[in-house]
Symmetry: C2
Subunit: 527 residues, 2 copies
Amino acid sequence: MTIEITGHMLIGKTAVHGSERQLHAIDPSSGRDIEPAFGAGNANDVARACKLAQQAFDSYRDTALGQRAQFLEQIATNIIDIGPALIQRAMQESGLPQARLEGERGRTVAQLRLFAKVVRDGRWLGATLDSALPERTPPRPDLRLRKIGLGPVAVFGASNFPLAFSVAGGDTTSALAAGCPVVVKAHSAHPGTSELVGKAIQAAVVSCNLPEGVFSLLFGDGRQVGQALVSNPAIKAVGFTGSRQGGMALVRAAAQRDEPIPVYAEMSSINPMFLLPDALATKARQIGAGFVDSLTLGAGQFCTNPGLVIAIEGQYLTAFSDAAIAALQAKSAATMLTPGIHAAYTEGVGQLAMITGVRLLARGQVAATPCGGQAALFMTDADTFLSTPALENEVFGACSLVVSCRSFEQMQEVAEHVTGQLTATLFLTATDHALARQLLPTLERKAGRILVNGYPTGVEVSHAMVHGGPFPATSDSRSTSVGASAIERFLRPVCYQDIPADLLPASLQDGNPLGLWRVSDGELMLA
Amino acid sequence: MTIEITGHMLIGKTAVHGSERQLHAIDPSSGRDIEPAFGAGNANDVARACKLAQQAFDSYRDTALGQRAQFLEQIATNIIDIGPALIQRAMQESGLPQARLEGERGRTVAQLRLFAKVVRDGRWLGATLDSALPERTPPRPDLRLRKIGLGPVAVFGASNFPLAFSVAGGDTTSALAAGCPVVVKAHSAHPGTSELVGKAIQAAVVSCNLPEGVFSLLFGDGRQVGQALVSNPAIKAVGFTGSRQGGMALVRAAAQRDEPIPVYAEMSSINPMFLLPDALATKARQIGAGFVDSLTLGAGQFCTNPGLVIAIEGQYLTAFSDAAIAALQAKSAATMLTPGIHAAYTEGVGQLAMITGVRLLARGQVAATPCGGQAALFMTDADTFLSTPALENEVFGACSLVVSCRSFEQMQEVAEHVTGQLTATLFLTATDHALARQLLPTLERKAGRILVNGYPTGVEVSHAMVHGGPFPATSDSRSTSVGASAIERFLRPVCYQDIPADLLPASLQDGNPLGLWRVSDGELMLA
């Protein structure tokens, strides 16, 4: 399938060239504009997309589980069918290498297929039945609960995963799975990639005979189009992946509505790694090398990038640092996603270097391209870290800080001090288990995912994944933006009391016609 | 067990007489103060209770399921053991009759026991396991998810259920079930009842060998003690039942924290009842009489009180109104909960009467006591209703409005027009099913619970209950404050990646030692 990139927004079934400011994608390896121009939308475009989404909601949420699953699978097929043009455009717009983007496309498609399975299983419906007890005083009515979609969802994609966390990423996919129409505000860093994927979704809407408002794609900036979208009364939830500043702007906009709505903003995390004493004594060099690989993966542009390493001072920490320094100095500068991200990274690294008590351990190789990110590793002591709030700020890119502690108690103090994180990692041996047991309760309170002897950058799309965590890692720690549980973000329960059989939704009918797992009078059963 | 009412707050294991303003409960039937005086707390008291809660959290959330369940059951036993003194004090403070309060105590105790069962079942843990796939490229790690408590929870009880929605009500019980310590700000209308129940919880904390910070009870007003509580960094979620004004003040306070936290405020609902044509034609008088019984139950002081009736104009609606008028005129005025609630009710009824296009159908009998609420029934037409936002305001008490429509289409318009509700009710016969099918999608978007041929005032404590709904019925439509699912409000997921067997929580260990329902590689099983 050859899809031309036209610079048009997709408002339902209509392609519209936005009449506001004209935008170009920028090739970060050259700094040059990429054709064509994309027209930013205005308030009317936002209103139209939201109205169509609202009109589509009742019909879309009423689709049979199989039909909705097929729709997700059709989107996956359509994305694959775009072929190499999608990868080429994403490479141009993001500076990310081909293999990485092909892998990311695989992840995106697998995610759509996982959610198709999740939809078919129907456990997300939470079907629950309490029998009537007419003889009881007072009589108990017949009560049946299922979950339904919240309503139209606004999605703001991330720059760092132009496929997996963007137009057809986890937020869109889980919202569509929940029965919610989606209006995406495309990230300005990859509008062409967004248009291609948007057309793949639009085509699936058509071929699956769904109402056009199930999906729209808008261009424009966050302050205008983004705020208008979040403020529109038809929108009932927001998914966002990006900076803390951007996420909090949406949280505030949502709180100012007449009707407040949930905002799932996945924002900033420095992903502490705790190196326990025996692991450090026995594997310092190996951990140091592996850490640098994780740190520099994708130019360090992962939400789960290890930005903080905590260990007890001494010869073994020196061995770790020496290995990390050697590995880092050999790393070439990778092209960062946008000139803005590169500038912020350069500034963040510069600010870290100026903080009293922080010293530079190593830089990666000097950049050869305009947006090349030169990796950086710093060190400080725990006293400085505990007394310097700025050291907890995320520097988005391949930049990390080693915190040397006087004792395990000081490592615990650092663990208790850090704010909410997407991940926390422990390196340990069997000898370290007693210490790990002391740290785990703190890490459970601080992070959405706890790893042992691994690096946090990989985020598996599966049933048990949590890509979330306490504030400021996200704006809502009750949820995950990756993995099967992400669907729960876009659902609410409805209870049906004494509803006649033929008015009940199929999921709650006697005899369990859909073959769902249901809770009946408190017991979970397939009946 | 005889418990003296001393006017003391309970801060962990300590009884403290608050040093701020001295408060008295008021007997609403006489308007007189009830002894003793209760001392309101200050910022230090709030800080101390929150600190104890924070210190208790890791230890309390680590309790075995059986131990935590026993704690809830012990609270139930201790509440029963208070004996008639609890009922007598609650009668004095609330003006509610003995049978109602005995029923409410039964509900409170049953709720504690239901959550003990919920805790033991352990489905709330959401245990989910994805096997490692070491041969895959890239290898998949071992991933295991369980839910843990959010942290200490602040609870604000309601005046209208001094037992079931107060100190040991649904919010406290579900938060304790989730493993969260609780700090209750007692409702100033029933401080003595609160102290008695608080001591029952405190005694259970002691006898179950739990850390003292698991429970504290504070006195004081919402603006000072309440705001300080919600603003305290140790507090990670808020449960509230009360007015929209009170709920929104807490929502705003929570949004202004450095770390935003969820607020579950159950606020205001007018609970529309839609009388479909054939039901109206065949059962108008019966529905009218039943409606008035529901409207006047507990002096109309139910969140689920039917404050809006929608039907097509004509002889059958007149028959309904005539039956309702006759029933209402026979209803004696019941004592309302507080002088403030009575004054607000009187003012609300007065304001409704002055709105152009609204006419009074009937009043109940004149009150004989200072806080007696004289029931009121009004009528208007749909055009007036649709163009007068004030007609959607909740008048807390036995006040309702009948909206006459020209057609079923206008009934649909009214359904689409109303804001979020706790409940929506349909009266129908088999002949009305086709019309009901047209209304149901709208009602699902508007309400947490949909009833057929019943009255919304009863709220069963069971597995399938939803006592929640879209804003402004609640501040978070994703949840319920009554029933087993209420526990989900106070949980967040944590994922464990490649954690060694002996560091895993029991719920996630191989071999399923707790015998839980778990999702393993996407399949639900008891293994």
